[in-house]
Amino acid sequence: MKRLALVGTIVLGLLCFVGQPALAAPPIKIGVLGPMAFTQGEGHWNGATLAAEEINTAGGIQVGGEKRAIELVKVDTNEFLSIPDATNATEMAISRHKVDFMVGGFRTEAVQVMQDIAMDAKKIFIGCGAAHPELCTRVTKDYNRYKYWFRLTPINSTYLGKVDFLLLAMVAAEMKKALGLEKLKVAIVAEKAAWADPIVKAAEETLPAKMGMEVVGTWRPSPVAKDCTAELTAIQRTGAHIIFTTFSSSVGLTFAKQWGELKVPAANVGINVESQKSGFWSATGGKAEYTVTVNTLARVKITDKTIPFYDKYLERFKEAPNYTAGTYDALFLIKEAVEKAGSTNSDKVVTELEKIDSLDTAGRVVFDKSHDITWGPKHITSIGTQWQDGKMLCVWPNGWEGVTFEGTVPHKLPPWVIEHYKK
């Protein structure tokens, strides 16, 4: 009996040693920060979950001589309702949960504070939600403090503005061609938020000066406005042919729904984050069909990774991934950088992230000197999507700079707009 116990102990001991694979090493903790009760936070969490599962199933992250698993920490920033909540959640992620890396964030106003906290703690924070250029300008202004920040998604609001103008140009060209209109009138409608200010400024300058369009007015509703009929009525009075939108909050849904209900005879194009979500069609009762928005993902072949990721996400979470699900790519970037650095040391990983050149779900990822994602035909372009018959389809780039993603369809003007101008 004693012998049996001895053998058992030895076997158990051996198992402990032999079975001490790399994954027995402490996990790498990644804080996923976002407003978890909202779609944006769900995107953050779901994207990161898929990536962590794939990485862990494949054995984890190779750090020097050991394999380490990823452990995700869900950090609910509640940033839509309270910026102090976002501050507290970030502090807690660092001091209590002792995260090694951070990904996520959504509202620029909240992310700026979250960024400061992460930088003070020298934690790498890959932004997957906030678009304001200032978040990356800080890196150039004070590299030593802000070098731990990288923005992966979306492209910054200056680039978003560029894609916005390209979408506008596409719609304008089609209106001129199909309806025989000469000089187009444009109404600018942008929610009153910090990230939208540079786009509005650029639109007011660029449209008349470089695109030959007349700006008939600029409307700045509250991001949470529940009624936009007054704005839409005023816009109709101006005779605008196109409404150029900039929305990231619920006002985008209200505006698009009422635009469709009133059949306002003006094409609706721009940035409308709400219309990037699968639930948009149902929430608007299909009234906002033909809404065009700048987007990050759709079921088109941007890279070889896009459609498999899109399908897997849709199957697992029963909704299409929005751009905050870019945490999926963020985790793979962290993996690649940590493995090349052979360490989780923030300074070493920063050096590797700066060298990244990788084809991910939204395109080719290369960070510029300000640690911002590079935009352009050879990098991430972003896409333009339009709701057509209950489906969110890619309509841009459709030949722009020679870029067309497999699965792209032609843009359609709303039939009531065509009818109005063909009378």
């Binding site: 406005a225 009075r237 929430a283 009762g285």
Partner: protein
């Protein structure tokens, strides 16, 4: 001229919806001295129940709306009996308790449905041109129903014995009690009517708005501004105040497009201005007199 028409039509629709909310709030404040901050949270409850009934359970929209109004009134009565009645004599405590109820409802919906923006289809589709202004049929329906309900409430208060009881309790609770009225029953009835108005407002406007867990906050601010502007507890005041703020909002959007996000602030500024000139509000008794 065109802009004036736009402002009149838009302001009229906004004002009518605000009036419905504010009158229910004013009624319960005037009669039972309850500052029910949860009033618009109950409006939100009705909106969510309509969503559940029509979208999740597949009930016909009208049936879902009726069920939602009944269930919301029942919930309102439960809230009254559990959280308000035991502390009814302490106005500050009631105020805090109803804030807690509102937050509780917000959290319940946030946990159950997340922060997703949800929508309910309109009862009537399409739009009409009224003097050159496009107005959706659902907005027109909301305007019509609001006016019918406002008229109904007025007739009830002015032409029925129960209405008389409500008004007399609103004027002087102690004297009404001395005259043999069961003021507690009157208060309970008032709560039911008030919550019913909130729920019906929810039913009328739910196809026009986005259903989400913070949808109660903006109407609350507007409603408080209206009742302070009209005079605390004054039903006539709430009616007039609602239209003043409705028109003020429309004016801002049409006259100051770049500042259309300021429409709430302008409405609140109107309230502050009136308070500075006439602290008791447009139709209220002065606070000193009331004491």
């Amino acid at each position: 001229m065109a802009m004036l028409l736009d402002i009149i039509i838009d302001g009229l629709i906004k004002g009518s919806v605000y009036a419905l909310l504010a009158i229910g709030f004013s009624l319960v404040l005037g009669v039972a001295r309850i500052i029910n901050i949860a009033h618009t949270a109950l409006f939100m409850t009705a909106a969510y129940l309509i969503y559940i009934g029509s979208k999740l359970m597949g009930l016909p929209l009208l049936l879902a709306m009726t069920a939602a109004v009944v269930l919301t009134v029942l919930l309102g009565l439960v809230v009254y009996r559990l959280f308000i009645q035991p502390i009814q004599e302490h106005e500050a405590a009631v105020l805090i308790a109803t804030i807690a109820v509102a937050m509780m409802l917000q959290e319940v919906f946030l946990m159950s449905f997340g922060g997703h923006y949800l929508g309910v289809p309109p009862l009537v589709e399409g739009f009409l041109h009224i003097l050159g202004v496009k107005v959706t049929m659902q907005h027109l329906l909301a305007l019509g129903l609001s006016l019918v309900m406002l008229f109904g409430v007025r007739q009830f208060l002015m032409k029925t014995r129960l209405g008389l009881a409500l008004r007399s309790t609103a004027q002087d609770r102690e004297v009404a009690n001395l005259m043999g009225m069961d003021v507690n029953r009157v208060a309970l009835l008032t709560v039911a009517i008030s919550v019913g108005l909130a729920a019906m407002t929810g039913a009328i406007v739910v196809p026009l708005i986005t259903v989400e867990p913070t949808m109660w906050m903006h109407p609350l601010i507007m409603m408080l501004a209206i009742v302070v502007l009209g005079g605390l507890g004054s039903i006539e005041g709430s009616f007039v105040g609602a239209y003043i703020l409705g028109f003020a909002e429309s004016l801002v959007v049409f006259m100051l497009p770049m500042g259309s996000f300021l429409k709430d602030s302008v409405a609140l500024s109107v309230m502050i201005l009136v308070l500075l000139i006439r602290p008791e509000g447009l139709f209220g008794v002065s606070f000193e007199e009331e004491r």
